[in-house]
Amino acid sequence: MCDSVDQSEHPAPRQARSQRVPGMCIKCKTAKPNVSIRLSLYCKPCFVKAEIFKFRTALNKSRQKANQHGTKLMAAVSGGPTSMAMLKLILDFHNVGRQGKTASTAFASVTVGHVDESALFPGCEDGVQRILQAEDVEVVTARLEDVFDSEEGLELVEKTVTPGAVRDKFVAQIVRQNPGVSPRERLKQLFSGLSTATNREDMLDSIKTFLIKKLAQSCGCRTLLLGDSGTRMATKVVTYTSRGRGYSLPFEVLAESQWGDIAVLRPMREWIAKEVAFFNRWTAQPSAVVPTFTTGAPAKASIDRLTESFIVALDRDFPSTVATICRTVTKLQPQDDAADAVHCLVCGMPAEAGAQTWRNRLTVSDVSSTESEGPVAAGAKPEPEPETKLAAGGIDITQRLCYSCQNLLHDAKPGTVLPEFSTHRYQTSDAADLRKQIEEFLI
């Protein structure tokens, strides 16, 4: 056995519960414990103190690494338990820093960035807004449909998905949006054109990531806090890996990563969902139930749901599961060429060159064998054609899509219009011939 690994960190069956002072809190050793976290017992006050300390330590460490001092900070808050716990903790951190002599620990300001998802999940935003309004902090909100608030759109006109072919091809064209159709309606059309819950979750993630980053930029915040718990991170790692997102995984799960000029920190990644729940309960922090495409659906409704059930069940019997996955992930490094790679038109993450080639030697693309197809999935897949002619004004965007987003669009119907950031990313591409084509279009 590798002796560089701390023995105590090995997954141990829950029966082997260790107690430093038998039956007493591990910190004060005098109080009867109220909670068990990864086999350690804490009383209520010691637990809350330990969690606050853990947050500060993680944030200070990340901030040091990302060299973010005195910057304006945005906390991405959905209103769910982890982001609300994070908000409480960051406000506490900020206020203590401001009052103390070491004012350098404070940020220039703290703003909440929130994405209103009511276009896809009606009726949920009121509760979230109520909770956010109760907090003593400035809140800026973007709506999902904002990504369709432009005159042009990148429309998928054609795709050739031939099993065994050397490469798939995705062809798009820039179209003028019908002014009679509202951004909200366009957003709904996009999602109804994606056949599986897994694909809808992926698209939603890409849109939220874009909007939060844009909010941070427009507010001049150079530090962005994301409220992903360790449980969520572990789920993401497994989901993204199975979706073929290995190339960009480091950018999406590390404790600190750089998105352009914004430092992204994930200070909640050492918290398991249970710690969040107990912390919120014992500090009377309200939170909302944030719906998903698979809320109330069986575990196999999407890859993400399936993974979550798997991780959570494993973590119940082996309480180090989540911590072990998260620690393993910290060793991930982006590949050298990732910094120069083109950014995927859909998810904005670095796209590995040649993704479409190995896409055809494909492993896991979706769980469609078990996944129940939504009512909108009825569109038959177009017959594969041996050769594709570029439609008038059509652009081959295959090279501009990462492996995972090629899978995402695999089932999308021709006519699907991508969010405006896809157009924008396409237009800011360095390829001169592409730029020329756009200029011609704009004239």
Binding site: N34, R281, T292, G296, A301, D304, V312, A313, D315
Partner: protein
């Protein structure tokens, strides 16, 4: 003789209960088969009487499903003996779902 237990649901569990109740008071016999009533009986009672549909989102294998936390009188049930905790009259049992998918 019977005892009453206050049960509470959060984290989205309230959405799968009949009438979306957040709280309920349930009455159980103080003993079952000559043994004191445990929190497992409370779980089974909730599953059979309060859950509107999809009981698997609340309970599997005669206990709560993984991802559902249980607090007994504001403490983690893991320090109270989990399923075998003997419920007392007026106990408060809170169920919290931590599952993203509800």
């Amino acid at each position: 003789m019977s005892i009453t237990v206050d049960v509470e649901f959060s984290g989205g569990l309230e959405l799968i209960m009949k009438d979306k109740v957040r709280q309920a008071t349930v009455s159980l016999p103080a003993t079952a088969d000559g043994k004191p009533t445990t929190v497992r009986q409370v779980i089974l009672y909730v599953r059979d009487n309060l859950v509107a549909d999809k009981p698997q989102l609340f309970s599997t294998e005669n206990t709560v499903r993984p991802g559902v936390l249980v607090m007994i009188n504001d403490s983690d049930w893991e320090v109270e003996g989990e399923n075998d905790y003997q419920v007392q009259d007026k106990d408060k049992v809170l169920f919290i779902s931590t599952m993203h998918g509800g």
